[in-house]
Amino acid sequence: MKPQDSALELALPGAVEAALPRAPETAEREVVVLFDEFRDRLLRYVLALGLSFHDGEDVIQEVFLSLFRHLKMGRSRENLQGWVFRVAHNLALKQRNGTQKQQTRITTEEGATAAQADPAANPEEQLANTQRQRRLQAVMQALPEQDRWCLYLRAEGLRYREIAGVVGISLGAVSNSLAKSMERLTRADGR
């Protein structure tokens, strides 16, 4: 019996449950821990998809409420990282497509002005780094959106198989997308 099964059993519906003391709320605590673990990465990702901060925060809250229900119902805990990114991705696209008003799209291009210079690098290195980043960002912005999603998700540390699940394409399609992007990026990155 897996550990979560025992907690689940205590919470099983029974006729007298309302009159009994409730089981410790492990799912609540667990989901808050997961919130802390994934929030920054998920928020960064949905901002990269073009959501405003408000919408981004809203989407993240919805993701973790869904995760809470998911855990509470004792559903699969396999690859929760892939799960939260998939839900965030879908909610973000839904939110973005549903929002009619003008959005402040946070592109990596705009964000670059706010980028922190590497304090360890000397001025020439900094300049070279900045130029290199500009070049990369320009190439990234020119990529088809689905290819960008794959790059962002890889930057968030997802495996290619997880990326396939989030974007809803095959593993082969992910590797082809990445290969295509790499061809352009390595050209820009200077051989």
Binding site: G14, V16, F35, L43, R44, F53, E57, D58, E183, R191
Partner: protein
């Protein structure tokens, strides 16, 4: 299929990094890489580009990420709401189970139903998509009865609230206004001296639920006009991203007078409100 002397394709190199190739093909790829400098260089380029992309992506977005604390707090309050939603849903499932239970379970269930009735009547509870908020109000002319009016909000997001420049209608429908007077045992009270007001304004997600409405007098120093000022102020703060929506709702429901003092940094209603009161007292028609 794969010829030994053929160079490796980028897609395959990418999959090899994640260990996604079949073990036979992975061995072939390893063998090829050991011999072929061109493919090793290509692999290295891909890894460097991937790392550079990740760095560019994070550098662009990290400086603008707000700290996690306030969003965690907001999440925890929504989580508390979701938990009581689920408890209620479970209660309905239990209701069905009762019909297959032994006799002692019926007794316990009847007791539980009684307790639930009391809870529904007097405690803030959850119902589908609608959330009540605990209130600390005592009795008094400026504040609602916490049992009758704990405050209720709908499931709205900040973007929905801030989407329109037009403030939502402040006044509930007349039939609801009468019901509120009746609930407060004030059937004969002079209606022009009161505003049937939302405890949590619709501009902050409050609903027309009777548990969010109370007859608020225009007379005391802390009156309905003063509260309107606070509502406008909190709406602005929420839409400017300076205040969490859940926090604004809680502050409003818990004690709006304390909230006014907190957000306007004052112990007294501001002057402009007092003059407004004087105007209203002369012509209390609206």
């Amino acid at each position: 299929m794969h010829r030994h002397d053929e160079h490796l394709k980028d897609a395959e190199l990418v999959l090899a990094v994640d260990g996604e190739l079949s073990s036979r093909r992975a061995n072939e790829v390893r063998a090829h890489l050991a011999e072929c400098e061109l493919c090793r260089t290509r692999m290295d380029q891909i890894e460097r580009a991937t790392a550079a992309v990740a760095r560019a992506y994070r550098d662009a977005l990290d400086p603008s990420l707000p700290p996690v604390e306030s969003s965690r707090t907001a999440f925890q309050s929504r989580l508390a709401g979701a938990t009581s939603d689920m408890q209620q849903a479970r209660w309905f499932r239990n209701f069905a189970a009762v019909f297959q239970a032994p006799a002692w379970a019926y007794v316990a269930t009847v007791l539980a139903l009684g307790a639930l009735w009391v809870a529904l009547r007097y405690q803030p509870i959850q119902s589908s998509g609608v959330r009540q908020i605990a209130s600390e109000y005592g009795a008094g002319p400026e504040v609602p009865n916490a049992n009758l009016t704990p405050g209720v909000v709908g499931a709205v997001t900040v973007s929905q609230i801030c989407a329109s420049d037009e403030p939502p209608e402040r006044r509930p429908p007349p039939s609801m206004q009468q019901a509120v007077f009746h609930e407060y045992g004030m059937d004969g009270a002079p209606a022009q001296e009161y505003e049937v007001d939302h405890l949590i304004t619709p501009a902050l997600g409050g609903t027309d639920d009777i548990r969010n409405l109370w007859p608020e007098s225009y007379r005391p120093e802390w009156n309905a006009h003063v509260k309107d000022e606070l509502e406008d102020r909190l709406h602005d703060l929420v839409c400017q991203g300076k205040l969490d929506l859940g926090m604004a709702q809680r502050d409003m429901a818990t004690n709006w007078i304390s909230a006014y003092k907190k957000y306007f940094h004052t112990d007294k209603p501001l002057l402009r409100n007092s003059s407004l009161v004087a105007d209203r007292k002369r012509s209390p028609s609206s």
